[in-house]
Amino acid sequence: MAGDEPTLVVEDLKTHFFTKLGVARAVNGVSFDVNKGEVLGLVGESGSGKSVTGFSIIGLVDPPGRVVDGKILFRGEDLVQADDDRMRSLRGRRIAMIFQDPMMTLNPVLRIDTQMIEAVRAHENVNAQVARERALEALVQVGIPSPHERLKAYPHQFSGGMRQRVAIAIALLHKPDLIVADEPTTALDVTIQGQILHEVQKLCRETGMSLIWITHDLSVVAGLADRICVMYAGKIVETGEISEVLDGSLHPYTRGLIGSVPSHNRRGQPLAQIPGMTPSLLNLPEGCSFHPRCPRADQDCLQDPDISAPARAGHQVRCVHPHLEAES
């Protein structure tokens, strides 16, 4: 894939919310890129800015929120500068989004075929018959049994897992270059989650589609993603290849997160816990936002650290005192 331009390059993205109580810096200088056919895991806890990052890419940040700075280069084109018409023509066609709650995507009073045909014809000048064929194809692609009958059903007639498949099918209608998936399996059961991950993984491998998988669940990302970005309080604190980050995490927050996940090997032992809780975005601590909860914090942490690559190429961390000694 060398020489290929990345599908998406995000540079120093800042999305702020101008509320009555002050400015919430939900995304505060985020940079990353996604290559063709790559799955990027964007991991963080509630309020870390991971979803707002996703919404910024697809241009769905509602007031009082606004992208105040930075670039979102989608195949070379800056989406921050794009006008509404341009975003409209890209959204759903070249970039699609899958939401946590599929009922956010589906209209409860319209049949699935109506919605899917509408979605096809919104971007392409084809007749209803062709659009219907495309809808059918997409439903088959995500593994919905008896798609002919299911096309005529209403969203409430589907189970949660099936609805999410329909939402994914709609995202796939135009074979987009990039899909932003915001916690799409969080509300699903384990076996159903497995099925969805299976379909998504297959699609990325077969079609060369890029995927940003936004989640709070490190263990899902561990199985799915090629690379991972860990976000905390609006910034990426660590990024790299999935194995590099999970096995040789450098940032104390990433370490804490990994230690918080119950693991097979440490059954019954107390879990490593991160003290305190996520700070309010309206009132972030000075310097490194994590320092009040960090076991390694000292005076130096009052300066905002830059993201740097102290260990290996491609593995970057935003910390004054990264866990370098535990390498080797």
Binding site: E45, S46, S159, G160, G161, M162, D189, V190, T191, I192, Q193, G194, Q195, L197, H198, Q201, H216, D217, L218, S219, V220, A222, G223, L224, D226, I242, S243, L246, G256, L257, I258, G259, S260, V261, P262, S263, H264, N265, R266, R267, G268, P270, L271, A272, Q273, I274, M277, T278
Partner: protein, 332 residues
């Protein structure tokens, strides 16, 4: 050997949607509309010994929450016996019923909908012990302070309302409320499912500490196998209202017997597994209104035979302390 803390014998819980007037009239005219019956829990045997942590695992709609509610006395069983310390709860005297009610406490998934938004923390936590005469009205403040400290909250917060807390703190308030009546047995229904990972770890550790300090017994209901594996001594797997397997945690995770357990374990996302290929079990969870015949799992089971379609497998002991309900165990 003392009687188990709680024992269920062939307990069923059915929810019936009764016919409304219009449907009854249609039926008079020969419409033949029948009542819809959901077999949420279908002849379940289960026991929890004193001091034991039992994990109850299953997917949505398998009846695990309903079962938890039957154990905590929130729902009455439709059939079967619920025994508390060896005595059938239907034959309880009022004193015994109160003892059961106080000793078995429940912690709910969503702390916001289980805490009264118009009550201050002091009243949420302090009301029950005062009503039941566990503390004198004058001592309630000190008592609440102790409880809040125990669950890791600052006693200064006790004049606040639930909406002023974060999710993790609210869950701690729910735990403090449950502990306030000095229970011996906590039924935790997805108690940490709604929390962030780092907060989850804090609450899991809190549960472990409380178990050590107060000698508590837990029934830990969850869909999250990782958490259950971490906390439980014994795991019970439910599928569509029935228990399909029960074994000591290590054994169950080491070598699952029932095909459903095996499928569940294969799907658990683990942080150790990188770039894996997902190979899920096929199909959906069937509706409990119209469950499949025979073994409920047969439409999704890779090993299903004709016998599985016709005959319901019995939950029986396949090794000491190990129960499984699968016909495959009969074939030798």
């Amino acid at each position: 050997m003392t009687a188990p803390m709680i024992e269920l014998r062939h307990v069923s819980k059915r929810f019936v949607k009764t016919l409304d007037l219009a449907e009854k009239i249609v039926n008079l005219a020969g419409g033949g509309i029948r009542e819809e019956v959901v077999h949420a829990v279908d002849r379940v045997d289960l026991h929890v010994d004193e001091g034991e942590v039992v994990g109850l695992v299953g997917e949505s709609g398998c009846g695990k929450s309903t079962l938890g509610r039957v154990i905590a006395g929130i729902h009455a069983a439709s059939d079967g016996e619920v025994l508390y310390r060896g005595g059938d709860v239907t034959g309880h005297t009022p004193e015994e019923a109160k003892e059961w009610g106080l000793n078995v406490q429940m912690i709910f998934q969503d702390p916001m909908s289980s805490l009264n938004p118009r009550m201050r923390v002091r009243d949420i936590v302090g009301e029950a012990p005062m009503v039941h005469g566990i503390v004198k009205p004058d001592d309630v403040d000190d008592y609440v302070d102790d409880l809040l400290l125990r669950v890791g909250l600052d006693p200064l917060f006790k004049r606040r309302y639930p909406h002023q807390f974060s999710g993790g703190q609210r869950q701690r308030i729910g735990i403090a409320r449950a502990l306030a009546v000095r229970p011996g047995f906590l039924v935790c229904d997805e108690a940490i499912a709604a929390l962030d990972v780092s907060i989850q770890a804090q609450v899991i550790n809190l549960f472990s500490e409380l178990r050590e300090d107060l000698n508590l017994t837990y029934l830990f209901i969850s869909h999250d196998l990782g958490v259950v594996e971490h906390l439980s001594d014994r795991v019970v797997i439910m599928y569509l209202g029935r228990v399909v397997e029960s074994a000591a945690t290590e054994i169950l995770f080491e070598e699952p017997n029932h095909p459903y357990t095996a499928a569940l374990l294969a799907e658990v996302p683990r942080i150790e597994n990188r770039g894996r290929t997902f190979n899920p079990v096929k199909g959906e969870i069937p509706s409990p209104i119209d469950p499949p015949s025979g073994c409920h799992f047969h439409p999704r089971c890779p090993h299903a035979t004709d016998r599985c379609i016709a005959e319901q497998p019995v939950l029986r002991e396949i090794a000491p302390g190990r129960l499984s309900a699968c016909h495959l165990n009969d074939d030798g």
